[in-house]
Symmetry: C2
């Protein structure tokens, strides 16, 4: 593991993205989103993605020059067509539209079709609390998950992010895949030769599996069978049908409200990336004095944190707190990158003749 000063890494990643085909503004917002993920300890959504992004540009899935079109609009809402452009650029525009509409009317909604990977959903939801709004961001993804009693990969990991303003914490930030684990976690287990716990995935026969390497292969194969399990696991005993319902709800908000493509077909259009998103902003003063609401939220979070701990536990976290702590450490000691990601950055510096940023030497 190596740590790089935040601003240095941001500037470097921006240069790399420009060299692989990103126009400058889109390189900047993408670099920011990726470096933020690494800084928060979510490397699955960090700079390790750049190699894939380059591949997607070559394959025509990502179209860096594409413009985002507003195809439908009301005082409260807009529907955007991303034309297979850059997900982070599209997401930040969509959330800005929500916040603009909210500032005029009280609430703003934006559905998006034909987009691409937009990074951590939480980054976009989190734009709302500083403007005294609740923020929501959702997206579908490639199909990785099976549904209750099903066998085919149909749903994406379909994350939901909700940012709720909360006093000195800034916000409560829920940012969760509706599958038991994010897809990247299975890939990480496979790379490290680790067995998965039962409850993460089923094989192509629909049986529980702990073989991460086999699952990783399966995801790359042409077989449509076997995949991740939705939150709550297999069957209905522990609520797998609820995770399936949450994932399907995300699918309907993202694709049905945008006139777009659902996870199952998101990369099979033969056209370009067709990921769909949904964003919302809801002004706190729809419900009263914003500072009072935010303080009430803070007091609930504080009471939860101060409550009795389970045996062997010394701390209860609320959502977004761990990532904030890691981010502060990253700002102080540098953003952590694993060996493989760092090697990829080194290769880019050689290919494009860029000055590599220097390690902070931090642990």
């Amino acid at each position: 593991m190596i740590r790089i000063e935040y601003e240095d890494l941001l500037a470097y990643a921006e240069q790399v993205l420009e060299h692989i085909g990103y126009p400058s503004g889109k390189a900047r917002i993408t670099s920011w989103a990726l470096v933020e993920a690494d800084a928060r300890g979510v490397p699955s959504h960090g700079l390790q993605r750049v190699v894939d992004y380059e591949k997607y540009i070559k394959e025509g899935l990502f179209r860096p020059e594409a413009s985002t079109e507003t195809v439908y609009e009301t005082g409260l809402s807009a529907v955007l067509d991303g034309n297979s452009g850059i997900g982070m650029d599209i997401a930040s525009k969509a959330m800005r539209i929500c916040l603009g509409k909210a500032s005029e009317t009280g609430a703003g909604f934006c559905s998006v079709r034909n987009s691409n990977h937009f990074g951590m959903a939480g980054l976009w939801a989190e734009m709302a609390p500083p403007e005294n709004c609740v923020g929501i961001a959702m997206t579908n993804t490639e199909p990785f998950a099976i549904v209750t009693h099903g066998r085919e990969r149909l749903l994406g990991t379909n994350p939901i992010a909700v940012a709720f303003p909360a006093g000195r914490d800034g916000c409560f930030l829920l940012d969760m895949a509706t599958t038991t684990v994010p897809h990247g976690k299975i890939e990480t287990y496979a790379r490290r030769n680790l067995e998965m716990p039962p409850g993460w995935a089923v094989d192509d026969k629909g049986a529980d599996t702990t073989d991460s390497a086999a699952m990783s292969e399966l995801f790359k194969s042409s077989s449509p069978f076997g995949g991740q399990l939705m939150l709550g696991g297999r069957g209905e005993i522990l609520g797998g049908h609820k995770g399936y319902g949450l994932g399907l709800m995300v699918e309907l908000f993202c694709s049905a409200l945008s006139g777009g493509t659902w996870s199952r077909h998101v990369f099979s259009s033969g056209y370009g990336g067709a990921i769909t998103h949904f964003f919302a902003a809801l002004r706190l003063d729809l419900f009263g004095e914003p500072s009072k609401i935010s303080e009430l939220a803070q007091s609930i979070l504080d009471e939860i944190r101060a409550s009795e701990k389970a045996e062997g536990q010394d701390r209860i976290f609320v959502h977004g707190e761990k990532e904030r702590m890691r981010r502060m450490k990253s700002l102080e000691k540098g953003v952590p990158l694993d060996e493989k990601t760092w090697e990829e950055m080194v290769l880019y510096s050689q290919r494009f003749k860029l000055d590599l940023p220097v390690s902070t030497g931090g642990k």
Copy 2:
């Protein structure tokens, strides 16, 4: 099990509720909500609740004569104070306010404080699709659940319901507690002397337990320790922190946005019921032609249903479908009541000298 003709049961329950203290309009909406739950095969939210409701009226938790006040209002939103009135009456008013605001502006939101049990959350969300809106209903409840790494009962089962218009299906209707199971399920297991599967609850030491009788006692005890697990179960391996996050999100929408009480303190005010709710309606034409959106949603549901089944399964359901099937059967053959609930209805007929409805003889 006995089956009673839907309209007969509705009229009978209305009379019973009037005799235990409900004013007539509130008796009607409550009877409807309870009979609908029984008709849909969700007896935990059906007529078996009437005995408790009578107790709550005597204890001053439910105040049947209370008026609902609008304490804050904007063009898009309202905050209601239920003054510890009847939950179903308050919920139906709140959702009507959302739909009224949505018909004028495109979207409507309503948060509610000082309310009581409002029955199945789905009933209120479901009011939206016939008006070409997406509907959302959430509520907190008594504290039944522990949080990740915690030991005290802090959160309610905090259900979320989302109704999304969908072609000939009418709607996709997700209606889920954010705990692994609804609270009533543990009570049902205890009454029937059944062991629970691991993953539903932990005891007062924080250890996994399958002893439903002991848990049922624990819930009635003064000990604050031990309780239900949030969706995803104990710890973080299978995503228990996600269920905790969803439950906490419901808590913030319901109590922080209404200036009300969170689950932990909901029955400890020494005042009356202080349950909080949140409702929303979002007009489909914020995003395009409603019939096209609804048909696109329908096509996604149809594709899921038609996909390959897991071994040993012959059908994939989407959310709301099982309940619709049971409701149709109940309309045809009568609404099912279990022995105990029927006995309670018989006792009411004796106490209040009411004509008992007659069994349809259906199975």
